[in-house]
């Protein structure tokens, strides 16, 4: 209950600040970027941090969601059209996640990373050459539907969904694959199924992040979704901690604030940014959160392990 009160408070405070013009348009854009990066990072964390599948394809999934949502809302510039665009974008990205997930299942580690990177580049090239995406010039004038309310709904919704997923028996199965795939298989975990599921869910969420991007920044071009975009997301995940959703959120917020602050030093911005990353990784090589979650945070302690609880109460009864 407490977590919902806390979430409601966060929403209300920011909403009031926006309505009273205490949050500038520039800072609102930063908020949207943070929301998008949180969604991208937690969903890549499901694939890479929890299930252990090294993926460099997140920009590809994101771009599919972005373009599908943009194309739909440009033809149907209404709220139902926007919702349809987000849903179709997520579905299209999920289908791609499924297609990528299947053949790459035989690949491990570096090979999987290269395959997903290749997929992402192929998609970018396709978008560069399609008529409906307007090629390299990109799409401009995408109707803007994303505001703080929608952003909050999507971000919190996805984080809660993934948080419940990773704490369920399904999540355990995914983690067991990361920990030791052969042992997981011996225990009867359907490793192929869970790897594909991780890719499907991760890709769908990235698609939603792309849809939010398209619908807020009203401009899309294929080169926004290059290799570096995937690396950016990976940096957030590694920095926050592989296997920690709260770590991903913390890192997404921290990095957005750092780069906003660094805008004041345009010449050495990227150098400072890189230096900060290096310093953090030296002192926290396991990431800010390791694989732990912030225990009092609103996002943790959602799924509860009934078996564990029963075990504890049984032990207490002795």
């Amino acid at each position: 209950m407490r977590k919902f009160i806390a979430l409601g408070l966060v929403y209300a405070i920011v909403q009031i600040l926006i309505m009273t013009n205490l949050i500038s348009g520039y800072f609102q854009a930063t908020l949207v970027t943070i929301g998008i990066n949180i969604i991208l990072a937690v969903s890549l964390n499901l694939i890479t941090g929890f299930t252990g599948q090294f993926s460099l394809g997140h920009a590809g999934f994101m771009s599919v969601g972005a373009y599908v949502c943009a194309i739909v809302t440009m033809r149907m510039p209404t709220i139902p059209g926007f919702i349809l665009g987000v849903v179709l974008g997520a579905v299209a990205a999920a289908i791609l996640g499924f297609l990528v997930g299947l053949p790459t299942l035989r690949l491990r580690g570096d090979y999987l990373a290269i395959a997903t990177l290749g997929m992402s580049e192929i998609i970018r090239i396709i978008f560069l050459n399609l008529e409906i995406t307007n090629g390299a010039a990109g799409l401009i004038g995408i109707p803007q539907f994303i505001n703080w309310t929608w952003l909050f709904i999507f971000t919190v919704g996805i984080v809660l969904l993934l948080s419940n997923f990773v704490k369920s028996a399904h999540g355990r199965a995914c983690i067991s694959i990361r920990e030791d795939e052969i042992a997981a298989e011996s225990m009867g975990v359907d490793t192929i199924r869970y790897k594909v599921i991780a890719f499907i869910i991760g890709a769908a969420c990235a698609g939603i992040a792309g849809a939010i991007y398209a619908s807020y920044f009203y401009y899309l071009e294929p080169n926004l979704f290059g290799f570096l975009k995937s690396v950016d997301v990976l940096v957030i995940v590694v920095l926050g901690g592989l296997g920690s959703l709260s770590g991903s959120m913390l890192a997404a917020i921290l990095l957005a604030l750092i780069s906003t602050y660094l805008q004041s030093f345009p010449e050495i911005r990227m150098v400072l940014y890189s230096l900060i990353l290096i310093v953090i990784m030296i002192f926290r090589p396991q990431g800010l959160m390791g694989s732990r979650e912030i225990s009092l945070s609103v996002f943790s302690k959602l799924g509860n392990n009934k078996l564990w609880d029963r075990f504890k109460s049984q032990k207490g009864g002795h």
Partner: protein, 234 residues
């Protein structure tokens, strides 16, 4: 209870198992011994469904399970302690044990078996909140066996459980294997430590480069000259 008929396994061009046939009866301890690369691990992996045979059949309790998935085989009562222990290093001991019961839905039965595993391996109860990666080699082996027992198997496969353990621990592991067998679990054991293995074996098979070359009761093989020369150090 378990029967392997004319099984062949290929890894690409490598012919790892050649026309392997053998059987395990209910309640037995059957041992597979053989040199490095003989195909012992491959045999276990194929029976538990982790590796596809190119030819032959696996029969469990009269049912042909050759095309049944690894998950289904766990449900049918096969449990496999893989070579090299392979605990989940970042998970706690308790989480490892819970994953052993991954396919089960009977909460009370699972708790019962958890208690049974703790009874058999008291050290695991003491370490239940410790991550498995920080356990000693012997403790990890006990965890791997305990985890495999959590699926309440009819037949338990053990792939070189004594590997890398001090002699006193090897003795303990073999005692545990015998006691698991006494409480009704059939055991198929792969070992390099032929001496110890043949002592506990009801029957044993000797593998060489992908084929079974010799079989007999544990004591028969222990007194065989060939075995003495090749595996028992003279």
């Amino acid at each position: 209870m378990l029967e392997i008929r004319n099984m062949d396994v290929h890894y690409g061009m490598i012919h790892a198992l050649k026309d392997v046939s053998f059987e395990v009866h209910r309640g037995e301890i059957v041992v597979l011994i053989g040199a490095n690369g003989a195909g012992k691990t491959t045999t276990l992996r194929t029976i538990s469904g982790l590796q596809r045979p190119t030819n032959g059949q696996v029969i469990l309790n009269g049912v042909d399970i050759t095309n049944v998935s690894a998950q289904e085989r766990v449900k049918m009562g096969i449990s496999h302690v893989p070579e090299g222990r392979r605990v989940f290093p970042g998970m706690t001991v308790l989480e490892n044990l819970e994953l052993g019961a991954y396919l089960r839905r009977d909460r009370d039965g699972i708790l019962e078996d958890l208690e049974m595993v703790y009874e058999r391996f008291p050290i695991l109860r003491d370490r239940r909140k410790q991550t498995a990666g920080t356990l000693s080699g012997g403790e990890q082996q006990m965890l791997a066996i305990g985890r495999a027992l959590m699926s309440r198997p009819e037949i338990l496969f053990l792939d070189e459980p004594s590997m890398g353990l001090a002699p006193i621990l090897v003795q303990e592991i073999f005692d545990i294997i015998q006691s698991i067998n006494k409480s009704g679990t059939t055991i198929l054991l792969v070992e390099q430590n032929a001496n110890m293995a043949l002592q506990v074996a009801d029957r044993a098979y000797v593998m060489e480069t992908g084929s079974i070359v010799l079989s007999g009761t544990g004591s028969e093989l222990m007194s065989s000259d060939e075995i003495k020369k090749a595996y028992l150090g003279g």
